[in-house]
Symmetry: C2
Subunit: 246 residues, 2 copies
């Protein structure tokens, strides 16, 4: 989040028929940090049924806090983003074009303050053209031209994944994906390889080229200190061959 | 795809318990252009059951073409990417760190030729540490630190969505998301607004500032020609007020 006071977008599900899909959406919301779920004409959500069964840990908060509201209430309260599988529409179609992709929204929404709702439609037919006509902007997930229609729960999962930075302060992942070994360790590694090449009587004329290749392989792999230490140990043993000593 | 001869990654599901998840994965594969599905220790996939029920149009191709193989076969045949919910691991953990995110893979995999498999584990426990240890690299979806564990079908959907460019030639979406109206149409629009301001006796001293604001709003919205034409018509009528003529 770019601003601590900003609320992440609200999620609205219109006229879902399958409780399992509502549960799947609640779980994705919790996985990606969203909390407010509004339901327009929802199916019955039995605490022992599929909605709660599919919700994972969202069964403890997102799902039981969901509120039933009218479509008009949503339009009056939020800037609405309608999610739909646009199919080859162009600028002659006012209702479904222009559209944004979830990745576009992920860039733009953090720069706008004001309450926003992501609106997902019913299974099979999605949001009707009449509903889309009343909505502020259209979002469409790029997919296979031959079969672009995602299942409702899967479409919401992809959209919420892309917009996670609007809702999550931190992810479970460390800030960095790799901690590259310190340069002195890497230089020691290359020294040890050179030592091994010498020990193996690798042709003098080829050593420079071989060393360049070795540096490039490790260079691309960004090895961690622990990984480098493992190689250092192996190279030392390969060079000294303590097992062969008398 | 960057190369017509390149095969998109194969999808491998290890020891899934729920046929519905296999169907969900097959559907996401079809939505994002993947076709080869391998199953290690799969549940029974009854043509009248949930796997086929959840597969959408993938019930006609991806799912019936799925082959049962051994985990060893996968390791011997492919560069394997194991998908798992890493939780705050760091460089002291050899098995789950370093990792890549799906977005990283989407950047790197198109630059590498060779058969690749995306490997998804069973529900609840995912891939075991023993399985991960035999795999070439780890992929992890950034999610809520308090609840990073996605449902199997949802994790596969997000990963395949991110990697769609490896499998799809084209999406259903037009090449452009907007076709901005031609500049002469936009200039006509601004002229008409100026005409309306004059007609409304908008204070002379404020006109320039108001026009700048109007240009900025339309400038950010990238309106289509059809949208501009709609405004042109409205402005003309607002300026001329034919309804007020005697």
């Amino acid at each position: 989040m770019t601003d601590d006071t900003r609320e992440p977008p609200t999620v609205v599900v219109v006229d879902a028929k399958t409780p399992g899909n509502v549960g799947t959406i609640a779980r994705a919301m919790k996985n990606f940090g969203f909390s407010e779920l509004l339901l327009v004409d929802p199916p019955e959500l039995d605490p022992d049924g599929e909605a709660y069964g599919f919700a994972g840990q969202a069964r403890a908060d997102v799902l039981p806090s969901a509120r039933e509201v009218s479509f008009d209430h949503v339009l009056e309260t939020y800037h609405t983003v309608g999610c739909t599988a646009v199919t080859n529409e162009d600028d002659r179609n006012h209702v479904r074009f222009p559209y944004s992709t979830p990745a576009d929204l992920a860039e733009r929404l953090p720069t706008v303050e004001g309450p926003t709702a992501l609106v997902f439609g019913r299974e099979r037919v999605g949001l009707t053209n009449e509903e889309l006509a009343r909505i502020d902007e259209i979002c469409s997930i790029p997919a296979n031209a031959d079969y672009p229609v995602l299942n409702l729960g899967q479409a919401a999962t992809v959209t919420l994944y892309e917009l996670r930075d609007l809702a999550l302060e931190d992810t479970q992942l460390p800030d960095v994906e790799r901690v590259r070994a310190p340069e002195p360790a890497l230089e020691r590694l290359y020294d040890n390889w050179e030592g091994l090449l010498e020990e193996l009587n690798h042709p003098e004329g080829k050593r420079e080229k071989t060393m360049r290749m070795i540096r490039r392989v490790y260079g691309r792999a960004d090895p961690t200190e622990r990984e480098v230490n493992t190689f250092l140990g192996l190279l030392r043993r390969a060079t000294e061959r303590p097992d062969r000593r008398e």
